[in-house]
C-alpha cells in the first residue's frame, strides 16, 4: 500500500503544508503572559520549598511524619497527578477514543487495591522506603539492593514521561525547540527538588494540587459555557459533546460558533471516538483489559506512591489519606476526557492538521479561543503537575540510591550529612539520565509512564502483597518471583526499545502485541506471584522474628 501510493504522497504536498501551517500558528513564538505566570508559580514553589526545606535526613525522606490525612491526600493527588494525568490522558483519548479510558480506570482503580491490600499495613511496618521493606521483610541485603535498583529504574522510567511533558510545555511557552525545552525544564525541576527536600516538597504538593486543579478546571468551565453545554458541572456537561461527536455536529446557522482559526464548531460523525475498541483506533479488547489491569497492579507497586504512606502519623491516617487522595485525583480524571472530546470537535477541520497529542489540552483551550492568560495558566498547571511528580520521584530514586544502596549496603557507618550528600548526588545523576532519554521522545507521555507501572507490577507489587499477607513468603520465593517478573520486564522493554530503534527481533510482532511495554504486567505480575508462592513452599521457612513482627506489629 505504501509503495503504491508513494508518488501520490509527493503530489499531496500542499495538504501537508496546510497542516504544518495551522499547527505552527497554534504553537506560536515566545508567549509573555504564560511565561510570567509560569515564573511566578515556580518562584512560589521554590519559596515554599525554602521555607520548609529539609533540615536532616528524616526530613528529607519522610517529612517528619507530620502531615495530616487531608493534606497527605492532597500530596498523594499532587504527587500522582503528573504530566501523564494532566496532559497525557486527554492525549490518549484524543488519539484512540474509548481505549484511552483504560488509562483513566487503570490509574484510579489501582488505589482500591492499594488501600485494601496495603496502605495501613505498609505504615504499620514503619520503614522509610520500598527497598527498606524488601530488605527487612526478606532478610536480605542483596534483595534490598535489587529493590533499590528497581525503585531507581521505575523512577527513571516514570520521570521520562514527565520530562517529556515539561519539555512540551516549555516549548509552547518559550517558543523554543523541544530538546532545549527539555534541558531547561529538567534543570529547573532538579534545582527545585534539591533545594526543598521532602518536607518542602510535601508542603508544596498541597499548594501544587490547588494550582493544578484550578488551572485544569477554569478553561473547562469556559469551554462548556462558550459552546452551549451544561457548564455548572463540566464533568457531566461534556457528555453531550461526546454524543454530538458520535452523531456528528452540523454547522450552527444561528450562532457563529467557531474555533480560534475560524473553523465552524462542527464535525462529521466520529463514533470511533467513543465506541469500544474501535477498529480505526487499532486497539483491541485484550489491550484495553491488559492496560487497565497492569496500571492497577502497578499503582500498588510504585515506590514513590507506597512511600507516601510513611509520611502520615498513623495507619488510620494512611488509609483515609488514600480516600482523600483518590477523590482529589478523580476530580482531574473526571475532567480530562472533556478536553479530548472538545479537542476532537475543535480540531476536526483538516486545515488544523496534525497536532502534538500530548499538548492537546493546551491546543484545545487555544482552539476554543480562551484568553491567552488562562491558556497560559493551564500550561503552567501542566508544568506544575509534572514538577510535583518529578520531585517526588527524584526523592524516591535518590532515597533508594543513598539510603538503600549506599548506607544499608555499601557504607553502614555513613554520617547523616554524607547520606544527604549522596541523596543529592543521586538526584542529579537521575535527572541527567532522564533528560537524555526524554530527548529521544520514544512515545506518548501516558505510554512512557505506563512502562513504569508494568515494571512495578511485575517486581515490587508481588513482594509487598505476599510479604504483607503471607508469612510463608520467604527470601528464596522473593528472589524467584523477582527473576520471573524481571525476565518478563526485560523481554518486553527490550522488544520495545528494539522496535523504536528499527531492529526486528524474533517473534517481534507476537511479543510486541502480547507483552507491549505499557501492559506487560498483565502476564508478568501473576507469573511472579505464582513462582514466588511455589518456591516459598519448597524452601526454608521465614525466620520466626519476621513472622513474629508481622503478627505483632503489622497485623496486630
Amino acid at each position: 500500500m505504501k509503495k503504491i501510493l508513494l508518488p501520490l504522497a509527493l503530489l499531496s504536498l500542499p495538504s501537508l503544508l496546510h497542516a504544518a501551517t495551522a499547527a505552527t500558528q497554534l504553537e506560536g513564538s515566545f508567549k509573555v503572559g504564560p511565561a510570567i505566570i509560569l515564573i511566578i508559580i515556580l518562584i512560589l514553589f521554590v519559596m515554599v520549598g525554602i521555607v520548609f526545606r529539609a533540615k536532616d535526613t528524616t526530613d528529607f525522606y519522610a517529612a517528619g511524619r507530620g502531615i495530616s490525612k487531608v493534606g497527605s491526600g492532597m500530596a498523594i493527588a499532587s504527587n500522582w497527578m503528573s504530566a501523564a494525568s494532566f496532559l497525557g490522558m486527554a492525549a490518549l483519548m484524543y488519539g484512540s477514543g474509548y481505549h484511552g479510558l483504560a488509562y483513566v480506570v487503570g490509574w484510579t482503580g489501582g488505589y482500591v487495591l492499594l488501600l485494601i491490600l496495603m496502605a495501613g499495613q505498609i505504615r504499620k511496618y514503619g520503614k522509610y522506603t520500598a527497598a527498606d521493606f524488601i530488605g527487612d521483610r526478606y532478610y536480605s541485603t542483596s534483595l534490598r539492593a535489587v529493590g533499590a535498583i528497581i525503585a531507581i529504574l521505575i523512577s527513571i522510567s516514570y520521570c521520562v514521561g514527565q520530562f517529556g511533558g515539561i519539555g512540551l510545555m516549555f516549548k509552547w511557552i518559550l517558543g523554543i525547540e523541544y530538546s532545549l525545552a527539555v534541558i531547561i525544564g529538567g534543570t529547573v525541576v532538579l534545582t527545585y527538588t534539591l533545594i526543598s527536600g521532602m518536607l518542602g516538597v510535601t508542603k508544596n504538593m498541597q499548594i501544587q494540587y490547588v494550582i493544578i486543579i484550578i488551572s485544569f478546571l477554569i478553561p473547562l468551565f469556559i469551554l462548556t459555557a462558550k459552546f452551549d453545554y451544561f457548564w455548572l458541572l463540566p464533568q457531566i456537561g461534556y457528555g453531550s459533546v461526546v454524543s454530538d461527536a458520535i452523531i456528528g455536529l452540523p454547522i450552527n446557522e444561528t450562532k457563529a460558533l467557531v474555533n480560534s482559526l475560524g473553523h465552524d464548531y462542527a464535525v462529521v460523525p466520529v463514533p470511533e471516538f467513543a465506541m469500544p475498541w474501535d477498529p480505526a483506533s487499532g486497539q483491541t479488547f485484550f489491550q484495553w483489559i491488559a492496560i487497565a489491569f497492569s496500571l492497577m497492579i502497578g499503582t500498588a507497586g510504585l515506590p514513590h506512591v507506597i512511600q507516601r504512606f510513611y509520611v502520615v502519623p498513623k495507619a488510620r491516617d494512611a488509609r483515609w489519606s488514600v480516600v482523600w487522595g483518590l477523590f482529589f485525583i478523580s476530580i482531574l480524571y473526571w475532567s480530562a476526557p472533556a478536553y479530548a472530546a472538545f479537542g476532537k470537535i475543535l480540531s476536526a477541520h483538516p486545515e488544523v492538521g496534525t497536532l502534538a497529542k500530548d499538548a492537546i489540552v493546551v491546543y484545545t483551550a487555544q482552539l476554543g479561543n480562551i484568553h491567552p492568560l488562562i491558556v497560559g495558566l493551564l500550561a503552567a498547571g501542566g508544568v506544575s503537575a509534572a514538577f510535583s511528580t518529578v520531585s517526588g520521584l527524584l526523592v524516591a530514586g535518590s532515597s533508594a540510591f543513598a539510603h538503600d544502596l549506599y548506607v544499608k549496603v555499601i557504607n553502614p557507618q555513613a554520617s547523616p550529612k554524607k547520606q544527604l550528600l549522596y541523596a543529592r548526588i543521586g538526584t542529579i545523576l537521575m535527572a541527567i539520565i532522564v533528560t537524555l532519554i526524554a530527548l529521544k521522545n520514544f512515545a506518548l507521555i501516558g505510554q512512557l509512564v505506563a512502562v513504569a507501572f508494568s515494571l512495578a507490577g511485575c517486581t515490587i507489587f508481588p513482594l509487598f502483597l505476599l510479604g504483607i499477607w503471607w508469612s510463608g513468603s520467604n527470601r528464596a520465593g522473593a528472589i524467584a518471583g523477582l527473576i520471573a517478573g524481571g525476565t518478563v520486564s526485560i523481554i518486553a522493554i527490550t522488544y520495545f526499545i528494539a522496535g523504536k530503534s528499527g531492529v526486528t527481533l524474533p517473534a517481534h510482532e507476537f511479543i510486541s502485541y502480547w507483552l507491549e511495554a505499557w501492559y506487560f504486567a498483565w502476564f508478568g505480575a501473576p507469573l511472579a506471584i505464582i513462582v514466588h508462592i511455589i518456591v516459598s513452599r519448597m524452601t526454608k521457612e521465614t525466620p520466626i522474628e519476621i513472622r513474629k513482627f508481622l503478627i505483632e506489629q503489622v497485623h496486630s
Binding site: L115, K124, E272, L326, L550
Partner: protein, 248 residues
C-alpha cells in the same frame, strides 16, 4: 520447629482471629465488586457488541459496485464522494489511507464535473496558493477556498453549510483526478469499512445524562465507585478496629 513457632503464621486466606476474618471477608467482597464492575462490564460490552456501519458506509457500498463496473451514474459518484468526505472529516486517519481517499475523491469529482478542465484549473490554482502561504488566514488563500466551497457543494450535491462541503477543497487534488488505479481501488472498501464500521450495542446506544451509557459508566461512574469502595473500607475498618480494640 518448636510448637511455639507454629503460633506465628499469617495468611490472608486462613485468618486466625475474629478481626482478621472480618477483614478478609470485607476485602474479598470489595475486590469482587471492584473486579466485576471493571472487567465484568467490559466483557459484557464485548459480548453484546455488533459491527454497525455508519449510513455513509451503506451509501458508499451501494454506489461502489457501479463505480467498479464503470456504470456509475452522477448520483452514485456523488453518494460515494459524500461517504469519502465523511471519512476525511475524521481526525485519526493514517497517512496512507488519507492519500487513498484523496485519490478517490479527486477522481469522483472529475467524473461528476461537466467542466472538467475548469475544475482542474480551479483546484490547481488553489493548490498553488496553498503551497505558497505561511498563514491559513492569508486573504488570497481564504478567498480561493471560499470560491471552491460552493463549487464542491454543487458537485457533490451538498448544502454549502454542510461540514463536508468545507472539507472538500482540501481533499480534491488536481493531479489525482484523472486516474484511480486498480491497486488503489482494491483497498477502498476495506479502508472505508475501517473508519465507518463501529462496535455498537444497546449499552453504547443508550443515553445517560447526555453520555452514551457505556462511556458514562467507564469515565464517570467507575471513579465514583472507586472512591465509594475506599470510603466504605475505611469506615468499616475503623468500626472493626474499635470493636476488636485494634490500635493504629
Amino acid at each position: 520447629m518448636n510448637p511455639s513457632e507454629n503460633d506465628y503464621h499469617i495468611s490472608f486466606f486462613k485468618p486466625t482471629t475474629e478481626s482478621a476474618r472480618h477483614n478478609r471477608n470485607m476485602v474479598v467482597q470489595l475486590i469482587l465488586i471492584w473486579a466485576v464492575a471493571i472487567f465484568g462490564f467490559q466483557i459484557l460490552l464485548k459480548i453484546l457488541e455488533k459491527p454497525v456501519p455508519e449510513p455513509a458506509y451503506i451509501q458508499f457500498e451501494s454506489s461502489w459496485q457501479s463505480i467498479q463496473a464503470g456504470t456509475a451514474s452522477v448520483h452514485e459518484y456523488q453518494e460515494a464522494g459524500k461517504a469519502v468526505l465523511s471519512v476525511m472529516g475524521k481526525i485519526a486517519i493514517q497517512a496512507e489511507d488519507l492519500l487513498l481517499l484523496e485519490n478517490a475523491l479527486s477522481f469522483f469529482s472529475y467524473q461528476i464535473s461537466e467542466q472538467k478542465e475548469d475544475l482542474k484549473l480551479a483546484v490547481s490554482e488553489f493548490e498553488s496558493i496553498a503551497a505558497s502561504i505561511t498563514d491559513i488566514a492569508d486573504e488570497s488563500y481564504v478567498s480561493k477556498k471560499n470560491d471552491l466551497i460552493p463549487l464542491m457543494a454543487e458537485l457533490f450535491a451538498l448544502h454549502e453549510l454542510d461540514v463536508r462541503s468545507k472539507i472538500a477543497p482540501l481533499g480534491v487534488k488536481s493531479a489525482l483526478m484523472e486516474s484511480f488505479d486498480d491497486s488503489a481501488r482494491d483497498q477502498m472498501l476495506e479502508t472505508m469499512g475501517l473508519y465507518l464500521i463501529h462496535n455498537r450495542s444497546v449499552l453504547t446506544d443508550a443515553k445517560f445524562l447526555g453520555f452514551p451509557f457505556h462511556y458514562f459508566y467507564t469515565a464517570v461512574f467507575l471513579l465514583i465507585l472507586f472512591v465509594g469502595l475506599c470510603w466504605l473500607y475505611c469506615v468499616r475498618t475503623d468500626m472493626y478496629n474499635k470493636k476488636y480494640g485494634v490500635e493504629d
